[in-house]
């Protein structure tokens, strides 16, 4: 296992599309870093650059203190799990697992021992003679993972490895992957657009947008203090409410359509976005809180209830997450919204940057 370092990586594709604009990132020994962002944000490009499948336009890639920017994939000793798994369809599971070891000219007995070992770990022992086409989606996924593990590479690159699984299997495999990472103490760079995967698996989270890093940090730190409105809206489910508002007077009062909150931070500009997570909004009788609204939609989710309300005066829609015991509001009912000031996030409306602590 080893440290992975990316230095000012730029990637401009031959067709002129800019995939990455100056990415700096270090993945420490044994760390699992998740790159998360909407599709097209350049996260898969990062993996391909680390693997050597593409060359950066500018910048360098370091693995274990060695500059590998000019090395072909064969000489980088990293393993990649593809979103499509990319299992060799004409080879048995055993040969799929053994392929990388054969290429490295290991002794036959060593190959057999390591393949059997990984197969036992991943519960593939019964399936070794099968072809990929004879496996279920979950089994294929484990073979893809096993093919990476068996090589004991310097680093693992995982490209949306769970996205082809159904929801239940995905949750199970996610937990399994987390355990595996802790046991192997492996350096992993993991790409996903699923923020739940990102939150649960990451030691550190990197939020990407349009090829630029938005924020890096521990998942909860990023979740609790998003650096800008994009990160705030992207991380967390249901998504954070972002309400446009304007400062009035010098007392820090902020007013928007259908709501008024205070005090905004001292340094707040005139126009801003007020952010509040659905779980932090409370419903009360009309006139009781910072906003008045009408119930538009009630979605019982089982252990909680997601309520959509429309702020008075044709204002924004606000999502409110109620606990299981809460009284179910009626459609069209007039309510007051409590927006506790200690739970509010403030963003500059011009560039989306976070204001205040």
């Amino acid at each position: 296992m080893a440290e992975l370092r990316l230095d000012a990586l730029h990637k401009i594709h031959p067709n002129g599309v800019v995939a990455l604009r100056g990415l700096d990132l270090a993945v420490h020994h044994g760390e699992l870093v998740v790159l998360v962002g909407p599709s097209g944000c350049g996260k898969t490009t990062v993996l391909r650059l680390v693997a050597g499948l593409e060359e950066p336009t500018r910048g360098r890639v370091w693995i274990e203190g060695r500059d590998v920017t000019a090395l072909p994939p064969q000489e980088r000793d990293v393993a990649m799990v593809f979103q499509s798994y990319a299992l060799y369809p004409h080879k048995s599971v055993r040969d799929n697992l053994a392929f990388g070891l054969r290429m490295r000219r290991l002794a036959r007995e060593d190959i057999a021992r390591r393949v059997e070992g990984v197969a036992a770990t991943l519960g593939l022992a019964e399936l070794l003679e099968r072809r990929p086409a004879q496996l279920s989606g979950g089994q294929r996924q484990r073979v893809a993972l096993g093919r990476a593990m068996v090589r004991e590479p310097k680093a693992f690159l995982l490209d949306e490895p769970l996205s082809n699984l159904d929801a239940r299997l995905r949750a199970e495999t996610r937990a399994e992957l987390g355990r595996l990472h802790r046991r192997l103490a492996a350096t992993m760079l993991y790409v996903t657009h699923d923020q739940e995967e990102a939150m649960t698996l990451a030691d550190r989270l990197v939020v990407l947008r349009d090829g630029a890093v938005q924020q890096v940090g521990a998942p909860l730190a990023v979740h609790d203090r998003p650096a800008n409105a994009f990160v705030a809206a992207f991380l967390g489910a249901p998504a954070m409410n972002l309400l446009p508002g304007e400062r009035e007077g010098s007392g820090g009062l902020v007013r928007g359509r259908g709501f008024r909150v205070q005090p905004a931070p001292q340094q707040a500009p005139r126009t801003l976005w007020v952010g509040v997570r659905p779980v932090h909004v409370a419903l009360g009788p009309p006139g009781s809180g910072e906003a008045d609204a009408r119930i538009e939609l009630v979605e019982p989710l089982g252990s909680s209830v997601l309520v959509h309300v429309r702020l008075a005066g044709e204002g924004e829609t606000v999502r409110v997450l109620l606990g299981a015991g809460a009284r179910l509001p009626r459609l069209g009912e007039a309510v007051g919204l409590r927006l506790p000031v200690q739970c509010l996030h403030w963003f500059d409306a011009r560039d989306g940057r976070r204001i205040g602590p």
Binding site: L53, Q74, M80, F82, A86, L87, Y88, P89, M103, R151
Partner: protein, 274 residues
């Protein structure tokens, strides 16, 4: 009811077509075992007096093994070279970006469009300069000029359909490009390679014009040329010609029947995923 009737009509049509295509072959087969004297008595559905005389004459009175061997050598050599080189070229054209790739592909197609007869004279001059007239390479080379473009085009299509990620996975696993080609690309393209090989072999086996133009005597003549030049003392030996046709067709028919499922699969590779 309607669907049943449609199906019956389709089946009848297919049967009719098959019969129409098979009839001449059947008549050749019948005629090849009919004694020379009865050959012009009119068409017979069954040989009245079957004889192996023509076949015997083919291998005793003349040496039909020689053209058979020539055909086999030329066709096999062309096929091997064509599939081997063709696969390498096709992979480069399918996977590598280089200047003039599109032009090269178009050029390949155009080469195949020239009428064969227009190439006889220039090729003859070329082969004479090389000293290859009346030799095996003197046939293999011109055959390659016709077989390769087709093979390359077929295989470029096939290789493009193979997911690039499989090769990338192999590279990351430590395989060189060549190794990945051999271990991942070629096995997956095997059906297409087999059909390309068969098409090439058939083309070489049946080719007449080049074989006639670039050979001088029986030493290097292939089957079609040899059969066309059969001469008797006073008359054309029709019985032997027919027997030779059967002998020349049989191995090809066996080959195609043995591989027909692969051919169909190869020609439709990529039509459906999975």
């Amino acid at each position: 009811m309607r669907r049943g009737a449609g199906r019956a009509a389709a089946a009848a049509g297919t049967a009719l077509l098959a019969a129409g295509l098979a009839l001449p072959l059947y008549l050749v087969l019948v005629a090849s075992v009919t004694p020379e004297a009865d050959l012009f008595e009119g068409m017979a559905w069954l040989p009245p007096d079957p004889t192996a005389e023509h076949y015997r004459a083919l291998f005793t009175e003349r040496d039909f093994w020689l053209p058979l061997r020539n055909s086999l050598v030329v066709a096999a050599a062309t096929t091997l070279l064509c599939v081997g080189l063709g696969a390498a070229c096709a992979w480069a054209l399918a996977r590598l970006r280089f200047r003039g790739r599109g032009l090269l592909l178009a050029g390949l197609l155009v080469v195949g469009l020239f009428p064969q007869i227009s190439l006889v004279a220039p090729l003859y001059l070329l082969l004479r300069a090389l000293g290859w007239i009346d030799s095996y390479p003197g046939l293999v080379l011109p055959y390659l000029t016709f077989a390769m473009p087709l093979a390359v085009w077929l295989l470029v299509g096939v290789f493009r359909e193979l997911p690039l990620e499989l090769e990338e996975a192999a590279w990351i696993d430590g395989a060189s490009r060549l190794r990945a080609f051999r271990e991942v690309v070629l096995p997956l393209a095997a059906p297409a390679l087999a059909s390309t090989a068969i098409l090439t072999f058939l083309y070489c086996w049946n080719e007449f014009l080049f074989a006639l133009s670039f050979t001088l005597g029986p030493e290097r003549q292939t089957v079609p040329v040899a059969v066309a030049l059969f001469r008797g003392e006073y008359r054309i030996p029709w019985g032997q010609i027919l027997a030779a046709s059967v002998v020349a067709t049989a191995p090809v028919a066996v080959l195609v029947l043995a591989f027909q499922r692969r051919i169909v699969r190869g020609l439709t590779t990529g039509a459906v995923k999975g």
